[in-house]
Point group: C2
Chain length 275, copies 2
């Protein structure tokens, strides 16, 4: 029987001690050493990061843009990195933010859930409408994967669109939250959470409270802890009353730290102390 | 000097006789013959389609999901197909609908505008906010490429999000249109159009009139002509008073036709007759 993604996530957090995730963003000019071939350099660096963080965190989140930037060869590195992460017992959240209509949505599911290098979860966009998420939801339900739909982000310009006020009093991101909650309700695991979660940025705690009430069954994928400005207090609002239902992600503050393993342990300990 | 994308597009339409584009969606089970290896099959089929349509249309629009579905090998096919299209004198609009924050936005620009297999234009999503488009706009301005941001689509569920009413009377997609118009205004070519265009579906002519007035400098990329239900009358509203400023795209009605060259010629003639 296929294990539901949310239940898989709860079990992995229990094993590692905190609901945290390390963002894997291989940016060539940030790497400590630069050998001649960028493809070789990013693969070597990614493997070292995975080896260093695996004892302390349940999941990693490769940023697809960083791999796609090197074309088909970069995507081949991504595929090998997914398999290396799995060998280390890490869950993989593919941060690709894909979204398209009908058959193309099916194809993106097939791309990221391909058995040869299947991610455990995928970030998606629902700007095109709820119907466009249904094919990826169906694929994820079948394969035991999760999805995180873009709802609220923490970049400087996010308010210009996501905070626009609707006639009914909701913001654009709150309306998206309701769409995601409705879509996800048909796919709730034993733990009470849906396979369809939400991306909710860490820098706006008052938004997180509102969005948590609109999406009681959504696991929040929370980027922006550490380098992007989110603090421990900010992310607390993303969790439910039992200290569950959120995945706190740190990228640069861990992967570019002087000691990556120590930084991953610190991330785990900081979030565990919060809950 | 780098030629502005919009000016390049105007010249290409002049050469071919109509502002049309063929969507390249290699879907394995729709191909006329299926040899053993899907990668070989889709590449062969794509090349044949490009050869057939090149005399009649200025541009093709590969759907990235269909290539990414075959992983890094599929992406290698995409890269070779871009170069084959260029050898045939076709412009390439990469239909990838990418969108991410900051550095990741830079990376997507680097991915699709990589000189080894650079598309002439890319579809993008601005749900995350106007700031997240700026890196791809800067890259496109430098390289002479174009962008088409998702504004209004024609899939059955698009209204559920895009038609929500704001407090100020606009819809969500109209608010997005204003964001895109403002962002694009700094990058207008000699022809009067910006390098930043908009994806506007073909099945809602009343929306097209409203969006045209909000985005006078945006070239509209109009999918959905033919198989998706858009008619010639529907797409007319996407053009300006001079019969310019829109790219009418047909996919299935051309690429899966019994005679692909005839279908491409018909698409060109149908749209030319309208203008």
């Amino acid at each position: 029987m296929t294990l539901h993604f949310a239940d898989k996530w709860f079990a992995a957090c229990g094993d590692k001690g905190a609901p945290v995730c390390v963002g894997l963003d291989p940016v060539l000019d940030r790497l400590p050493t630069t050998p001649g071939d960028p493809i070789v350099a990013i693969e070597k660096w990614c493997r070292e990061i995975l080896d260093a963080v695996a004892p302390f965190v349940p999941a990693v989140k490769p940023q697809l843009a960083c791999f796609e930037r090197y074309g088909s060869q970069g995507m081949a590195v991504y595929e090998r990195i997914v398999n290396h992460a799995h060998q280390l017992g890490l869950l993989v959240i593919a941060d690709a933010k894909r979204g398209d209509i009908g058959l193309s949505s099916d194809h993106y599911a097939a791309a990221f859930f391909d058995p040869d290098h299947a991610a455990d979860a995928l970030t998606v966009s629902a700007y095109l409408g709820p119907d466009t998420l249904q094919p990826v939801i169906n694929a994820a339900a079948k394969g035991g994967q999760g999805l995180f739909a873009l709802v609220r982000t923490s970049n400087p310009g996010s308010d210009a669109f996501q905070s626009l006020k609707l006639a009914d009093g909701r913001t654009v991101s709150e309306a998206m939250a309701n769409i995601i909650a409705t879509l996800g309700n048909a796919h709730v695991g034993d733990c009470g959470y849906s396979l369809l979660g939400a991306v909710v940025g860490a820098t706006k705690p008052e938004d997180a409270v509102e969005l948590r009430s609109r999406m009681p069954e959504q696991i929040f994928l929370v980027p922006g802890f550490g380098a992007q400005g989110g603090s421990a207090k900010d992310v607390k609002a993303c969790f439910d009353a039992n200290g569950q239902g959120a995945i706190i992600t740190a990228s640069r503050s861990v992967i570019f730290a002087a000691n990556v393993a120590d930084a991953a342990r610190q991330l785990r300990d900081d979030i565990a102390a919060l809950l």
